[in-house]
Amino acid sequence: MDRNVKRTGLINWIALLAGTAGMLLIARHVNSMAGLMGGILGGLGLVVALLSYCQMSLEGREQLEKLELDELSKSRGAASLFATAGEDTFPARRSREQFERYFIPVLTALLLFLQLAAAFFPWRYASTMAGVDPGRAPLALALFGLLGLILFILGKYSSGLARLQKQRLLRPGAAYLLLSAYACWTAAATLVAVYFNFVKADFYVGRALCVVVGLITLETLAGLVLEIYRVRLKGKDVRLLYDSRLVGLLGQPEALITTAAHALDYQFGFKVSETWFYRFLEKAFAWLVLAQLGILVLSSCIAVVPPGEQALLERAGRPVAGRGVIGPGLHFKLPWPVDQVYRYRTQRIQSFIVGAEPETVKTIQWTVPHAKEENFLVANRAGDLTADTNNPAASTNQTGGHPAPPVSLLSVSIPVQFQITNLTDWAYKNQDPAALLERLSRRVVARFLAGAEMTNLMSGGRGQAADTLRQIIQEQSNELGLGVNIIFVGLEDIHPPVKVAGEYEKVVGERESREVKILDAQAHAIMTNALAHGTATTRVFQAEADKFNATTNAVARASLFAKQSLAFAAAPGLDGVYEHRAYLDVLAKSTHDAQRKIINATGNTRQIFEFNEEPKIRDLGNSLIIPKENK
């Protein structure tokens, strides 16, 4: 074996060792899953490179042994001492054969377990990783890129050497070097994606690399199984058991193009791979990739700010003079990472809620929980509940050992809407301006409610209170340099806490009941007054009618009496004809409509005639009562 090849094998192993260590350190530094998987791939390559290096050493010793024997044979003639020598005569060859027969399968099986673990555990671990630290991404990106470049150059050299000198033992290490280089660059690209807020990119790429390791594991397993049934022919070159075709393909993607070209040739029936277009593509492939990279870089020279947004334009970290804040539209800038643009939705109305976060319910009822309630303290205004600092117990309830302070609790939900008006202030003055604005608003609300009147807030004073709150929040935001315009502050869903809402509603109910009682009483008063008026009027009218009757009757009676006196004078005396006639007229007239007329008609016979309108018969002693219908 060529010494140069053996040295290259050793260099490969050392490079993989350094590359693995480097990738794992960088991955740990930046917390990158893709980088971790790159390191694991490098580690697997390290084992493979070690195996091939051992095999390389044994083959080298065998070749040396053979050369020595050839030299001895030449010097001692044909009747050599070793002409009929047995297996013990070639210890190096025996060692190599035993290594290939026993050690390689066993070590490949061990490699299989390592590959399985390398695919399984990182897959599970990926979901628990905290994610890439964007602050450390640029440095890690550079290191991954540089490491990838070194591994790529070494891998290319080794694979070229293996191909030119037909050194099959160099091929596995070289393939893993190239694969590790690509893994490095993939990790670097992932960091770029994360840097541009594609946070999940690292997770997905990490999982994809787990799948790649899983496929390599399956290939190794298949190789081990097939090795049992492989037909062993003496003198025929055997593919290395631990040499993965998949790693070879991934490490040398141009091999894929060659394979594809051969497939096309076969399919079309002529040499597609010899056409000018294919050759052009083959030659221009690198240029095309480079051109794409160039376009990518050039595209970072253009910044498009969508409508409703503004952006900060920074050159090497500092705002660009005169263009520190750029509005919607197309803007040109130096390529990333020299110039960087940070977009903000300045026109968008943003909002948050101070207090209870309302749930989506159709009807809000005080007594039914409809939000995660947050109660604010409101000072009591009632005279009997005012704090007495000299004698606190006098004005408070003593329950459970704690006095109840002279306050009430109020559940509120206050939406605050704002717009960013000064982007420089918003972005550069406070580390988390949105959170600060929220805290500030809460402070203002708490302070306002502390001195507010609860009933007024829940009724007519609501609108004015909202305006006051908006003004105060705006003033204090300006003082802190938040660069916002407070558009709206609403006092919504203000009510006593659910625990006491029932009692509040009861008061409202009692108020209504009071109105009902008063209205009932008023109705009664109206009716009583009306009846009294009516009755009084009737009585007066009746009296007037009586008066009229009396007056009229008196005149008529006087007139009648005067005329009757004349008639009476014609037949004077009480037994006179006029009197008798008048008497009988009255008797007849009076009894004419009588319901019963009972006349003792027979005197001694004790018979009574009764003329009765009622349909019944009574026994009146010895009198016979005859109903009218029977008479």
């Binding site: 602050g135 704090a387 580390q431 007054n529 007066v540 009296a543 005149v555 006087a558 006196s565 009255v586």
Partner: protein, 314 residues
Amino acid sequence: MKRSPLTIVVALLLIAIFGLMLFVFQVRQSEVAVVTLFDRMETDNARTNPGPHLQWPRPIERVYKLDQRVHSLDMEAEDKLEPVTLPDQNIILLLTYTGWRISDPAKFFQNFENGSMIQAKTNLQGIVRSAKLEVASRHVFSDFLSADPSQMKFTQIEKEILDRVRARADAGKYGIEIKFVQIKSIELPASVSQTVFDRMKAERNKLADAIKADADRRSIEIRSDADSAASKLLSEADARAKDIRGEGQQAMVESLRVMAQNPEFAKFLMNLDMLEELSKDKTTWILDHNTTGLELLQAKPPAAVTNAPVPLHD
């Protein structure tokens, strides 16, 4: 071996990019940088400001970037709440937030491990909590909450806490500047909140009962008033009616004077009137056969008398 110029260009380009990234660092407008050379802090302050700066790659030099904007430390979110007992025996939970920024990056970096924000926050929390409890425990409840705004000392309490925090955290000791300490809200411990709820319930029940009693009072008043007015009205009407009837009686004097000329005949007529008056309703008449006009019903001689009743018609 013959190398393609493209390969060389790409390699040089990549080396240039990665090299640039290794040897150059940027500090943003909102940041301040601290550079260490073999873990010893650099005294070259020119590289701490925003802009591009050169560096030796790790591990020779290390660059730590610190956010120099105002940080808002929310005690409620970062720490456990602690009740404060006030001089008037009330207990409150005081929630504050603190605004601070790095004023001396070098000192900040040295005081807190590699400029650890978490460590700085932890230290600041202790200072703020201590100051908050000290100040709050010297104020009565009405200083925090009162229906009379002139009694409230919100701003004064905040200033007192700020002064104390500044005295301890500023003064060049930590490398930070305290911008503000503000009270986010005041709350009550759960047990006290329950008593407040109980008190609120009792208060509302009292109010409800008062309204109910008021309703009954007003209802009775209105009804009594109406009844009284009705009674008065009827009394007045009765008096008036009597007066009117009296006037009617006066009118009868003339007719009585005429009747007095023949009193016996007048009495006879009056009796007839009374008889007629008596028979107006459903009257049962029981008449003797001796009654004038009924003499014809008297018993006849036996031959003429029959047991059958004499049919009479009304």
